[in-house]
């Protein structure tokens, strides 16, 4: 069902190394209720998946993931790279609680991080662009990270409103 990589080379190693690194990063003390943590993880997996499978597949075919335009086993592993980043983004946001323009600064820092991560991933042939350009990712990440943080704040507020007395944090 899932194809294996044509060559086990830099892109596969990149995914393995980043995955192992990100695993060590999530050993953070619990900060959110499990119901919110689960939503952050699932959202961080689903949104990139929906975008990748919509614009990287035919008929748009703006880029390929890994070695081919087939759905590879390492494309599935790639899904697991996003949730730790999403969780840390929400975690630090919740810890710092930035206000006013500091929120914009926070979003810009994460956008720069995402762009940096993508450019390294391109160097390692995880993403092979043929239509998409790195510059297009700039507004995409700016929008995605803002929407993600907005969603996170909404979840927290809704949790406080509806479940605070019934769920353990």
């Amino acid at each position: 069902l899932l194809t294996f990589p044509k060559h086990f080379d830099e892109n596969e190693w990149f995914i393995i190394v980043v995955f192992l690194l990100s695993l060590s990063l999530v050993k953070l003390p619990k900060r959110f209720p499990s119901v919110i943590t689960i939503l952050i993880i699932v959202l961080s997996m689903t949104v990139p998946k929906v975008i990748d499978h919509s614009i990287a597949a035919n008929p748009l075919n703006l880029y390929d993931l890994n070695d081919s335009n087939k759905f590879e086993i390492f494309d599935v592993f790639l899904d697991f790279l996003y949730p730790p980043a999403g969780y840390i983004c929400a975690y630090i946001y919740d810890k710092l609680r930035p206000k006013g323009f500091k929120i914009l600064l926070y979003i810009l820092i994460w956008t720069a991080f995402a762009i940096g991560f993508e450019s390294i991933a391109i160097k390692f042939n995880v993403f092979n662009h043929h239509g998409w350009k790195l510059i297009y990712s700039l507004p995409t990440y700016l929008f995605a990270i803002s929407a993600f943080l907005l969603f996170f704040v909404f979840l927290q507020n809704y949790f406080k409103k509806t479940l605070m007395n019934s769920c353990k944090i």
């Binding site: 119901v35 689960i38 699932v42 998946k49 335009n69």
Partner: protein, 156 residues
């Protein structure tokens, strides 16, 4: 035309869903929406790209219809049926609703074939049943797990 009709139907269903009283918590709906979308995208990519049992039409209007169906319409059908399941206690009724859900999804697929969104190569109704049966049952089990966590500490 195809995009407008599919978007119109999906939005009508979405607005109706928002307007009806629900037993599900909003977090459950979001969780289900995300999980269902994840499974639909993974499975349809395997079917379209790897197995090549179906081919997606190259016309951009069909691509948008395919996207609306995957992101909005099919998750909504599943969530709505799960919401109806919450209102029934009897196992037989729940099973009937799950089967109705699978039937509606398979019908949706065949309407998409009829319109020309996909072209069948080695596809048959049995594969459709396996695909949707898998997505519906795995989403149902995950939802039950999430629901357990959500109401774990609820005072009786």
């Amino acid at each position: 035309m195809v995009i407008s009709i599919s978007l119109f139907i999906s939005l009508i269903l979405f607005i109706s869903f928002c307007l009806t009283s629900r037993k599900m918590h909003l977090f459950e709906i979001i969780f289900l929406w995300l999980v269902i979308s994840l499974f639909i995208h993974n499975l349809s990519s395997v079917i379209l790209m790897n197995l090549e049992f179906l081919t997606l039409s190259k016309e951009i209007k069909y691509f948008w219809t395919h996207l609306i169906k995957r992101i909005l319409l099919f998750p909504l059908i599943i969530i709505w049926l799960f919401e109806m399941i919450l209102r029934h206690n009897h196992f037989f009724n729940k099973l009937c609703l799950l089967l109705l859900c699978i039937f509606l999804l398979i019908s949706g697929d065949y309407i998409a074939f009829f319109i020309g969104v996909y072209h069948q190569k080695n596809w048959n109704i049995g594969y459709s049943f396996i695909q949707w049966g898998f997505i519906v049952s795995i989403s149902y089990l995950l939802w039950k797990g999430y629901r357990k966590i959500l109401y774990k500490e609820e005072p009786s």
